[in-house]
Symmetry: D2
Subunit: 385 residues, 4 copies
């Protein structure tokens, strides 16, 4: 029957009605006074969400595009970077850099581990000639549902005295997980509209520290669309060098209002509680989490598929019988895990319902589980916390 789905992929996420309505506003002139006010409001709200006074730039693009933008703006062909590779999206960053002629020192982790701050520290310490220009890693890797400890990594980088910039992919963590751009001193923070901001895809966002701008000045990488200097010079007047995605700015304004009404710390706390409930439900059903709980993401959980369960069957059953849309394993995790996104507009009953649907679907496919188990674990998490 006709019903809005529970969109529990690790992004795009469920969009609140208030944002959906804002997307149907007629367009305004992107060079007029109303538009300037809209952009100014968005930038102010983004700075609060990013916890930063750094410059913030926006692009009509997906989040991956902004990852590329960071590479082509901060680096030059032949530069060397450290890239942590622990899933599809972190490996993508390394790959983008290589496509542009950058030498990449990969810290390869198993696809269920987080990187240890010491691993980065060691590489930087060994780089006596300070050839390494940047350390690139994701705050949260949605392939595996692990979260890297950016605070500590930033700390060891500072302690090392190494001049490399820190570039963080926060696409699946911003406005979900605690992230302190200025307090932690992150030079480049990349995000996008379709996760914690609860918007459709199509808007990429990046913050740049003063140090990052020094790198931008020296970069010789060819570019045009992604050119930070050109974008910044326009955004100083609340404009864009090419036609902006006005509709998404309407939505962003609404999203920032919603986040501000809840309070960003409350948003973080809610994500943590929801994630605990998901993990507790998973464990209560005898399922296995892919990642160590210590590094488990509070925005997406990867779960080992019981060997008797076929992913396609599970996903189809969930979608058709329950209206729940989940994600599967990517690349070498295909068929081995399923993933549940629990980020953005999500409350207690969403988690309660989704984990119940997972339990019922597994039961229908022959997995042995006592009905009601997931619900009990979720309720215990909410009520006995």
């Amino acid at each position: 029957m006709e019903r809005r789905q529970f969109l529990q992929i690790p992004g795009p996420t469920n969009i609140p009605d208030r944002i959906l309505r804002s997307l149907s506003k007629p367009l305004i002139n992107h060079r007029g006074p109303e538009f300037e006010k809209l952009v100014a409001d968005c930038i102010n709200g983004l700075k609060e969400t990013y916890r930063t006074d750094n410059d913030i730039l926006m692009f009509p693009s997906s989040g991956s595009g902004v990852l590329e933008s960071a590479i082509v703006n901060l680096l030059s062909p032949g530069d060397t970077i450290v890239a942590v590779s622990l899933g599809v999206f972190s490996e993508r960053m390394a790959q983008i850099a290589e496509n542009h002629g950058v030498n990449v020192i990969r810290i390869k982790k198993e696809w269920k581990e987080a990187v240890k701050p010491e691993e980065i520290k060691q590489i930087l310490n060994e780089d006596k000639e300070k050839n390494i220009k940047a350390v690139c890693l994701p705050h949260n890797e949605t392939t595996t549902g692990i979260t890297n400890n950016i605070e500590n990594i930033s700390q060891v980088m500072k302690e090392s005295g190494h001049p490399a910039v820190l570039i963080v992919d926060a696409v699946s963590s911003l406005a979900c997980l605690p992230l302190e751009t200025d307090l932690w001193g992150i030079d480049v923070v990349v995000s996008a509209s379709q996760k914690g901001f609860m918007l459709p895809p199509g808007l990429g966002i990046v913050s740049l520290s003063e140090k990052a701008w020094q790198f931008v000045k020296r970069s010789t990488m060819p570019k045009w669309y992604w050119d930070y200097k050109a974008v910044k010079s326009k955004m100083l007047e609340f404009q864009f060098p090419y036609t902006p995605a006005t509709t998404l700015l309407y939505g962003l304004k609404e999203s920032l209002d919603i986040l501000s009404e809840e309070g960003i710390e409350n948003v973080w706390a809610r994500h943590e509680l929801m994630a605990q409930a998901v993990r507790n439900a998973v464990k209560s059903m005898g399922l296995e989490l892919l990642a160590d709980e210590e590094n488990a993401s509070n925005t997406v959980t990867a779960i080992a598929l019981p060997k008797e369960i076929n992913y396609k069957e599970l996903a189809n059953l969930l979608r058709e019988d329950y209206g729940v849309v989940i994600g599967g394993g990517l690349q070498n995790l295909k068929g081995k895990i399923f993933r549940i996104g629990h980020l953005g507009s999500l409350n207690k009953l969403d988690v309660y319902a989704v984990m119940g649907a997972v339990e019922m679907a597994l039961y229908q496919l022959g997995y042995e589980v006592k009905l009601g188990t997931a619900a009990k674990a979720v309720a215990d998490t909410f009520l006995k916390a």
Copy 2:
């Protein structure tokens, strides 16, 4: 946080997105060709939902208004009717009739019982002079969550050979519970937009058999807005005698499409399954149903409040912690019961979540229940049926 509520009062009901969007269409001329097509489509779809070839009239009004319309169009001052009174809304019908100078023979039932067909039969049989002009009763009484057996009542009326018309308030049953206007031979069926049709309130609907029209012709009751003859003469040309609620017709068209895509028998079956899950969850938690299960409504369930639970506290907790909106007891049931609507746009996970919320809220308020109980009962209903 910002999220659409689970609106589990016994109507208005949750509105599907597709219908919500249709409500934001600009207006058209209610005397132009587009409008005629819209009305024709609505009438055709309503006839399928009503299972009738009878005339169907629409009013810009609430459902209660259409109840009054049936009284003032079919009766004359001084007429006598039988009215079954077993809750606020059935008593309302009797009251409306009395306001208009009609003598009402009430069949009063306890506010948890259904009427027995024999009770009606007996009264009709005793009316040797055939003074009784109409039998009025609700298909479903939302005050108590009971459903009257219209099929059998219609049958005994036919068998009695009594000439009274049968007027059924189907506001909270149409497009939810099996109702066969023509097969069962119901003369007047009153419904409204905000329940099974999943629309905002503001559109009243009524079907009228040939026999009902005979009564209309003889009626001397003063009227203007509700005048069936005036409305019919205009609706023959797909128009209205006064400005129609065009926006709700946009929504009705969408609603009828949705119902038709699911298939009305499937809609009925879904309502039955959802209701069973609700009742099983209620019983599993040791709560008491107000109505006999035999007559229990498949659109709303009334549940006795455990004595340690205050209704206001329960309702507030459900709304604020879980986004679930329930109904309380009306009049002499105030503070004694709470009611859960399960009609309209509702699927398995809605029931799963709502009953879980009820369990968690009761638990928080000190009611003894093992967490996970409701979920197990709901899941058992869906999977072991």
Copy 3:
């Protein structure tokens, strides 16, 4: 091609985007705290628009329904009223009263005239026994496009010392034409959602003075849906005796905000300017206004059809070639006039375009007019005022 129409019938009117979006909000509980706030905001805004401290009641109904409500609530069978009849909608009021057993003294005017205050004065003066209970008339008659001078009529009524109440149908004038409920001392003011409020039809509104409430107390007319006492007792708690049209209250809130942002006096002035432009364009093209300009309505203009022009052809051409929807003559004016509504959400370019379309369509149908004439007249009105 796909384009929103210019809906220039005399109501419903064009709905601003901001209101359209508000109509797609999900429903809330009509007995919950959010709803109470919504109703309170609407009542406050309505009082500002009505320029009154009187009670304001709302009904899920068309405007005609609220006209009936005034009759059945203030009068009793056998009562006598004066009703001014000068078009379909004022005659309707007289008819409704007669349907309910009221004796109607009609002041019949030609369907292009306004009533003169002295005509009312004379009848009241002749009523030595004070049998007349009410004077009923429209502020604005959309059949003919004339406006009655309510201020003067109210004045002569006061001077006459006659105890009759003054009941004004302001459906097509409120929030368009100057109307001072309290200053002028109007006892009952009926309006509806679909004209000056720029909303879909389906919400009827009425204000009642203290004197009007005295009449309500004495009324013996049978009623239920329209019962002012029942509605008032509920609305004191911001509730309704039956399910309210919540969606239209969302829209009304938005409408009242829009009116308040513009300022009601500015709204009145804008309507006057637009109407002058329409009339000047009409005259410049050699067409004849139905009504005397002295009494010409600032919300709708009725124009004599040139004898060579067929109404249907004109209306179809306007709709199909230009997307402009106009109204025709009603009853004995059918085929003799066409009507242009210029009320609600309407600005200079709307009038400019609509009058241009009328000129072009007339030209296409063989009427002799120099192209550009209407535009010049409209522009002159705006720029040389």
Copy 4:
């Protein structure tokens, strides 16, 4: 007062209500079956609009991004191209190429001229060693309102036997002006969502001939986001290599339906008629067109500012008094011209109203014009054509 603006910049354009509503649909999984169907429908519709069987790729980006994509996918550093430069957007293409290390042979035209096919022919003929890899030019240059004759240019390129590919920027012409991708043999056609498709910005589109794909294979330009091979391999399964702009695909589906209902030839004819009306109105008021009428664009008209008129004052007056938003001169045309976009969702009365507003605003600012002049010229165009 509250009213939707006439957005008459040369894009983004006015969005039909039907498309606006589609943008508020909740998101779906971009890897699920519903999404595949959506993409397939869009591709089919785009092929009809492009008049091509070539591959079509889409990007979450502005149109300028797709211009860059054509450069980095078809060329290699050190390659040589011919770029026609006759305004900001055609010069931009040359600039993008140079940013990426391409040698650009510019055909510089005055900013009001179109390029002559023979100019291109001559350069290609002189390139005996066939070093030129591509000829890049806009179909329509919005800076100046001129249209290049792509059909003839394509013809001379074929006749020359030169192997260069033809890359056409059709951002402001597709779905407005006649463009025959296959019939004329255009290798690369770049477009975007916010002009003829009547959508918000944020979706870039490109078609690629077999010959173009040969160039793609040989390109050594570094790239990732814009990589045609990667995008194509995903789009073969109706997917994307990164998160797509789902919301704009909802809108695109609706847009393609609207275009198909009108018929693309009718869309072209309508744009021609609207443009003629604009130009006739301009000339009738004694204003001067920037471009030769022979090459005048049917999507945007640039008009010389009378020397007594200040652009800012004109634009502000039009926006504030009439709700009309126009464009100004760019770069060296700043303060010398104003521009009116007349593309996308635009009908007769829009042009009538907008040109009337221009006339009234100019009049208010002291320009000598007889009121009604523009309307007469527009009406003459429509009725005496």
